[in-house]
């Protein structure tokens, strides 16, 4: 429920000396989030990953290794195998003699970009469809609800694979596919909320004042859903990151030689016996990212609705 304890602050007979400052739900949520040490740690980790991703060219500059540059002599052993971590290659090299550190850093760009873009798109579509369906009801609602049912019963990974087989792999098609299979769950929640919110008195009041449907949907109803939408967004991002990595892992995502955590791990499948670093670094990067977002999403949910169910109680 998005019924936030905004009205907890009852106005007592005002004593101008000791006026109680009213706090908006946002301020309350932020205050709770700030006290949550795990949430702050996750936020720091996410900011750090973002900074590293943005500063990827800096790593190229510092190491002198391009992300797709193959070091046939220095980067490979005489037998042609990857080299372990050393002072030249901090995270070791891969099967083609490329610097794993630089590639992990560049992989962060793909992961974050696809994760954030795909979830944002999914949330926008989900909110629009959910609002329209829930607000108008009737035939439109039935149609949209059935549409969501169909999307949710799609064998999504298989379908994504089939789609990629037609359109050809790539970053943008991955993002579209991820968004397409993620919006319906958001849509369902938003629709359910809208169904109850549209019966509230303030919506009736707005309507009697002559507010248009669009205005009621976006100005009166949507703000009450924002908290939930933000929680959904934070929890969709790690799912989208894993989805992108999975597509790349199966060779159906971003096309090599562009580095992604998924395609690095796919390559490492043939080399994990001789090159543990080839699994460890991209794997750790992926796991830390998804963990940080999942934990943060959990805390955000808790901050907006302390009585609500946590995904994982601590």
């Amino acid at each position: 429920m998005s019924a936030l304890p905004a009205d907890l602050v009852e106005t007592p007979p005002l004593d101008p000396e000791r006026a109680i400052e009213g706090r908006s739900p946002w301020q309350l949520a932020w205050a709770r989030l700030r006290r949550d040490r795990v949430a702050i740690a996750c936020l720091i980790v996410i900011v750090l990953i973002t900074v590293i991703a943005l500063a990827a060219p800096l790593f190229v500059y510092l190491t002198g290794h391009g992300p797709n540059e193959e070091f046939q002599t220095t980067g490979l052993t005489p037998d042609g195998l990857p080299r372990p971590p050393s002072s030249t290659f901090l995270f070791g090299t891969d099967s083609l003699g490329r610097d794993v550190l630089v590639r992990v850093v560049y992989g962060a760009r793909i992961s974050l970009l696809s994760g954030v873009l795909a979830s944002t798109a999914a949330v926008i579509i989900g909110v629009l469809v959910g609002l329209v369906g829930g607000y108008f009801g009737g035939f439109v609602d039935t149609l949209l609800a059935r549409l969501m049912d169909v999307v949710l019963s799609f064998p999504f990974l298989l379908f994504a694979i089939a789609l990629v087989s037609i359109v050809g792999p790539g970053l943008w098609i991955s993002i579209v596919v991820i968004a397409f299979f993620s919006w319906a769950s958001v849509g369902r929640v938003v629709r359910g909320q809208t169904l109850t919110l549209r019966e509230r008195e303030y919506v009736e009041a707005a309507r009697s004042l002559g507010a248009s449907d669009v205005r009621i949907m976006f100005v009166d109803i949507l703000p009450n859903l924002i908290a939930q939408v933000i929680v959904y967004l934070t929890l969709l991002i790690p799912a989208a990151v894993v989805f992108e990595a999975t597509l790349s892992f199966l060779g159906l995502g971003v096309v090599p030689p562009t580095a992604t955590w998924g395609n690095m791990l796919a390559d490492s499948l043939a080399y994990y016996r001789v090159a543990w670093w080839y699994v460890l670094f991209p794997g750790a990067a992926l796991l830390i990212t998804t963990l940080a977002f999942n934990l943060l999403g959990d805390s955000v949910r808790d901050a907006f609705d302390p009585r609500g169910d946590r995904l994982f109680r601590r």
Partner: protein, 319 residues
């Protein structure tokens, strides 16, 4: 009850029809030129036209669509472009592998998820609870293929190096041929799929158990002097299992997705591997076949879940 079942089946058939239509549009109406793809890049326009005619692709779209639905109704999924085997034969060959993987993993994730959830809920905020919830979060965030790689490294590679050749790194042996080898080949795939999925069940069971344990009838049971073990196992767990049942339906439906990844990591010749292979080979009838099979599976398992639900909870039937 019968009308409830009928309504669900009609709805399921509707969803399935929608999916097959989308698949048809994707593959046959989309701008990609199937005949061109099959004939090859250097084919002359005459060859392309011939291929197009052979496959019936030069007929009006509507005729093609009706023909496609008609054949689908008769269980005819066409022939593989790659080796001309009937798609149904190809699919049936792969079903035992994926079924072994999925069912074994499902048993494992149910056992792990529910028992750890119960364990955590008995003493909330205890050490056991914290360990369980922390590991649930850990596995919840873990991509299946990454866990697969980690298991391969430690339980296959390191263990084999240490002289314990327990779990092979890849391949599949049919159950009928050698049950022990079948088991050995499947333990690691089962674990990768099950641990990742079990996290959701841990969470659901723990939450439901905590809710149920606060109910009046549990207090009544306790005040009658019933042993705590019996209270949790007989009274609380029974009603706390409902969310797990719903989740099982969803997960069994989408298990093919997880199987695609697992089969690729562990080299299991199942439906998932077939799907990825046929995409690489641009073998469209096979891709379509796997998508439709998977969709049918999802629809059927959602009907089964609704049925189980209706049996468990009579209120559902009324709606």
């Amino acid at each position: 009850m019968v009308s409830f079942l009928l309504r669900r089946i009609v709805l399921g058939v509707g969803v399935l029809w929608a999916i097959t239509t989308v698949v048809f549009v994707m593959f046959f109406v989309a701008p990609t030129h199937v005949a061109q793809l099959i004939a090859g890049r250097q084919a002359t326009p005459q060859t392309v036209a011939l291929v197009s005619q052979r496959l019936g692709l030069d007929r009006p779209i509507l005729t093609q669509y009706l023909d496609y639905l008609w054949r689908l109704l008769h269980g005819d999924l066409g022939y593989s472009y790659y080796n001309s085997t009937p798609v149904t034969t190809l699919l049936w060959q792969r079903v035992p592998v994926t079924a072994s993987l999925a069912l074994g993993a499902a048993v494992l994730w149910l056992v792990i998820g529910i028992s750890s959830g119960v364990l955590a809920s008995i003493r909330p905020r205890s050490l056991a609870d914290r360990v369980v919830t922390a590991s649930a979060l850990f596995f919840y965030s873990m991509p299946i293929f990454l866990l697969g790689l980690i298991l391969l490294y430690f339980l296959f590679y390191k263990l084999t190096l240490a002289g314990f050749d327990l779990f092979p790194g890849s391949g599949y042996v049919p159950l009928s041929e050698d049950p022990v080898a079948w088991l050995q080949h499947l333990v690691l795939p089962w674990l990768s799929l099950a641990l990742v999925t079990a996290a959701t069940y841990t969470r659901l069971t723990r939450g439901a158990m905590l809710d149920v344990l606060g109910e009046d009838y549990i207090r009544t049971a306790r005040s009658k002097g019933m042993r705590e073990r019996r209270v949790t196992s007989r009274h609380a767990l029974r009603s706390a299992l409902t969310p797990a049942v719903t989740q099982l339906g969803i997960d069994l439906g989408t298990v093919l997705g997880g199987a695609i990844i697992t089969e690729n990591v562990f080299g299991l010749p199942g439906l998932g591997q077939l799907a990825v292979q046929s995409v690489v080979q641009q073998d469209q009838p096979v891709i379509i076949g796997t998508v439709i099979l998977a969709a049918a599976f999802i629809v059927i398992s959602s009907i089964v879940v609704d049925l189980v639900y209706a049996v468990l909870d009579p209120r559902v039937r009324a709606h």
